[in-house]
Symmetry: C3
Subunit: 272 residues, 3 copies
């Protein structure tokens, strides 16, 4: 994990993000905090050119619209042609037919190296379910110790059927390429009370992937551990009277200060 | 007021927001901080479906455009059909004909449970005035102790003519359904030097309304007291050398930590 | 410099911003922090009216699209007709043909009082180069003590050929009207690891210009010194364990607390 993070800092990859306007600033700042460089562009006339300059592409379908959906397709195909690493964050898949349809259509036309979402979103992609509660995971769907075996089985199965690395994040995070799986227990519950921690993780994963193309599965796991660990460090630094907004800042602070050693030591995962 | 806040925390309503891209992140974070869940979506193809999943709808016309105006109409009508609680924040009404026209057209086609704006915006809706200075209230229009009687009269009159609860916010906040009025003296002047405190309040009100549908007037007043009280608490926690940006964070911190008792005790209002 | 800042606080000019959705919230907050008022609007149907209400216009081409490009042209022409001060921030010029073309087309149809960018962006405008690395300056292009003479020569030449005040910002900032140049050594390297410090500076410059129309060159230099000085003050206030996100807040805090005296004393510049 140490080396994965150090590669991000050393190579400082440029990551193209087509993402929602809710959390875009946090995504840019967390990518800078980890040592990479973000660029945001979503107009059809420039996305292919912008993605060509970059080493990675992060497509996040939150607050999508007709204009940006077209840009996602164009950028994704271009990134595939250039063999850049690409991530899909299917925010709210299952919450509307447009989101499920857009994610599935992207998955059909573009090869994604990683898909990262919560259980509800991943299930919507796998099953066409529309039972999602907004953009948060259904309570019944959350990965827990009690259903870990079952969820691991599904995660591996979906990763295989999607032909991608799958990162299902929640209380326990699962990162798998369909064969090997990282079960990650970093992070804390309070992270779900801040908007954009999922989007930020997708940004981080994109940076880790771009800097570690030969070692994709570990890179995705390392980014996931880093985000969770930052959540733990940030929580530990909260003083009395400090709440959600300060916590949001403390998480990005922790990302910007995190060393490879710190990640290596703080990462809590097992391989299954 | 205590119960209104506790209902938000207990019911955790999902609130659909069609809002401007300037303050959207703060709106999402403050809705999470109070214990509800935000979802942002503004494409015509999905807004009806998204609003159907939710318990409340917050329409804010800042940075509006042709695409999002259409989405506001679609979502508003759907929310009406489902009897969801709806708020209109007419940001900048009076500053451009497009904003005034859009707000008036929405008010014609959609029933709003609450309209929240500053005095200039509300006057623009009532009178078709175009004298607004940007998105902030004209100095002459601000509700003060000296003109309170007159402003209360206008607030009640407009609430009646709009057929809605009206929240006119400023140094003194007025919340009225046309009969009963809350005169609220929470908050502090520094809040106007941070972008989005008004938009955040509209998000909070939407969450309080969705969680307290049977008790709408008190819910709007409680949300307004909560925002002002958070401004007071945040100001009290500022250390030397801390300015606007830290203040912004302290306000959301205070919202996330606020208990029903704290709100009950700190709310400064009289009923007129 | 002192008087330039005090004029902003005293006149509180209203600044119209057509800017990217990545850093728009920071731009609004920094404009409020310096004592001016921001308004964001980008729809063709309202931009002329909105810009008419204001004293300054800030056009930033980050995350541009066909819809907002048209709005930039309309607002720019209107602001020219009204003799308002206008700034162009050519974010990512050189990174895509669309951005270079849009900036050049705006420069042809609209007179800008100031263009502010990094060396790569300014070179792209001057040379039509497409060698930019994303939205950050190429390492080879950065203004340093060793190449200062050469860079000053180019800055003055481009300012003359563009017919504008040019602010090339980086480790050393150059502000010139083609005759006189301010060489500014405020700021610190860490500012480049936070998204939007450049966009924020463009917002500040717009506010300083609007409040000091008779004294434009000094106003641009004063805003540039203020941003750099805020970066220094913010860095000095960081505690152990605080990183990028807290730093971002500390910079805006410092802007909000900065007095004319503090700026006068802390500004590090020479005139060449």
């Amino acid at each position: 994990m140490k080396e994965c993070l150090e590669n991000v800092r050393r190579k400082a990859p440029l990551v193209h993000n087509i993402t929602n306007y809710v959390t875009v600033n946090d995504v840019a700042n967390v990518i800078l905090a980890i040592g990479a460089s973000p660029i945001m562009a979503d107009d059809r006339e420039e996305v292919e050119e912008i993605t060509s300059l970059c080493e990675g592409l992060n497509i996040n379908i939150g607050t999508l619209n007709q204009r940006t959906i077209e840009a996602m397709h164009l950028a994704g195909k271009k990134a595939n042609a250039l063999q850049h690493k690409i991530l899909l964050d299917p925010v709210g898949a299952g919450a509307s037919a447009l989101r499920t349809k857009t994610a599935l259509s992207l998955m059909k036309e573009v090869h994604f190296d990683v898909i990262r979402g919560n259980v509800s979103e991943v299930k919507a992609l796998a099953l066409g379910s529309q039972s999602t509660k907004g953009v948060d995971a259904d309570a019944v769907d959350v990965v827990r110790e009690e259903n870990l075996q079952k969820m691991l089985f599904f995660a591996k199965k979906y990763a295989q059927s999607f032909g991608t690395i799958l990162a299902i994040t929640g209380a326990i995070d699962l990162v798998t390429d369909g064969e090997k799986a990282y079960v990650i227990r970093n992070g804390c519950q309070e992270m779900s009370r801040i908007t954009g921690t999922g989007c930020q993780l997708s940004g981080l994963i994109s940076a880790f992937l771009a800097a570690n193309p030969e070692n994709a599965l570990e890179a995705v796991a390392a980014a996931t551990c880093a985000m969770g660990l930052a959540g733990e460090i940030g929580k530990g630094r909260l003083l009395e009277g400090e709440g959600n907004a300060t916590y949001r800042n403390r998480i990005i602070d922790a990302i910007s200060l995190m060393t490879g050693e710190e990640l290596e030591k703080g990462a809590k995962y097992e391989i299954r």
